[in-house]
Symmetry: C3
Amino acid sequence: MARAALILGGARSGKSRRGEEMALSCGLAPVHIATAEARDDEMRERIARHKARRRGRGWREVEAPLDLAGAIRAEAAADRILLVDCLTLWLANTMLAGRDAGAEAAALRRAIGDAPGRIVLVSSEVGLGIVPENALARRFRDLAGELHRDLAREAETVLFMVAGLPLAVKAPPPARPPD
Amino acid sequence: MARAALILGGARSGKSRRGEEMALSCGLAPVHIATAEARDDEMRERIARHKARRRGRGWREVEAPLDLAGAIRAEAAADRILLVDCLTLWLANTMLAGRDAGAEAAALRRAIGDAPGRIVLVSSEVGLGIVPENALARRFRDLAGELHRDLAREAETVLFMVAGLPLAVKAPPPARPPD
Amino acid sequence: MARAALILGGARSGKSRRGEEMALSCGLAPVHIATAEARDDEMRERIARHKARRRGRGWREVEAPLDLAGAIRAEAAADRILLVDCLTLWLANTMLAGRDAGAEAAALRRAIGDAPGRIVLVSSEVGLGIVPENALARRFRDLAGELHRDLAREAETVLFMVAGLPLAVKAPPPARPPD
């Protein structure tokens, strides 16, 4: 598996910004894989704001609202770091498109597992409120929770963002000192 | 009070699994006290999956959707570890049954306080979303929050699960070295 | 900026109590700035309970459901510690009053930045559940998230309360030993 980091957090908790900083600071060529679809003005405005922040800093920009596994397979390389932003939007797109979200999540995990280089995965934690009355929303938060759990098991770093600051849930092992 | 651990977390955050591992690794005889009622297929399937995971590993299985304090009093013993999974389901059952949830929570805390042996309490954190419009849901999350706070004060260990991984909110004191 | 602490957490997670303890333990004169309005019995009862807890312990009590920046400017002093409880209620009041919440949040941040003495800010984390269907609720949780992020950047201490216990998200630097 690519050396992976998973960045979880709530709304406006600084997940995307943290992911961008991690990608830019590691020395590899950064690729931004966006899963958002600009379906309304709220979303369009948000996507434009984030894009403006990345402009002129060497990012390659890719959009993958549905075929995220394919985009990861196409883009991953030993000298690249992929930033996927974000997994819950991709999961929502997948469910809205009537696809089998469980099978798609398994395919996504395989693509991440096979990828060379590094990958940073941004996703929203959505399971800490009242159980939703809507069955689809319940299914969505269950699938999101399972996906996060499965990815966190393999990831080297897991962060939980609170108010723009990271709580380290899983930290990489300390670097081995040179002999 | 029994030496208690409280495991909190969101949907599918690995709370049950962590509780089972804690119970199986401590050397005492494990008793599983389930509070779930199989009211629909979603629930039936989930209960069956969790039961299958525990099968053949020495668990004694008890169901206590409402009289959780009674089940704890009946089952607790110095050579046993009880795993209660989970408190928020029990609280929802109690409210749906029209019982006085505040009084029942106090009785539960007394039963836990009196219990010999060890106990692991699994519960869902439900208070980190938008304030629910529904007054009953607001009352539920307030009662859940108060119960967690009261139990955490007495517990030796409190974990907050994120994506299957524990954040230690309260850790037991280091073991005293043998004389 | 005043030396500031930001205390975040979910419903009934012990935020207010922690804030009161921090204010009372620092040696400065404590001022309680409440943003709650007693609009219904639920709220009236809650406000009365919290007030009773503070009675006779030297608190000066101020109410600022809307003009929080003004109250901070009026009350802050080098020998005082202000406890603002809480920011999300103030934000909800601001939005319900039809005010420009973004501009008001900027004014609030300036007032906090200009204040002498110390300040403890209590606020609810509301962004960790399912995305609300209601556009106003979405806007509210986005603004709350941004406000928390902006304040956390400047604060000396940021706590995330879980079941009445603090997780340190940002800790003050260790005290310099006396020469």
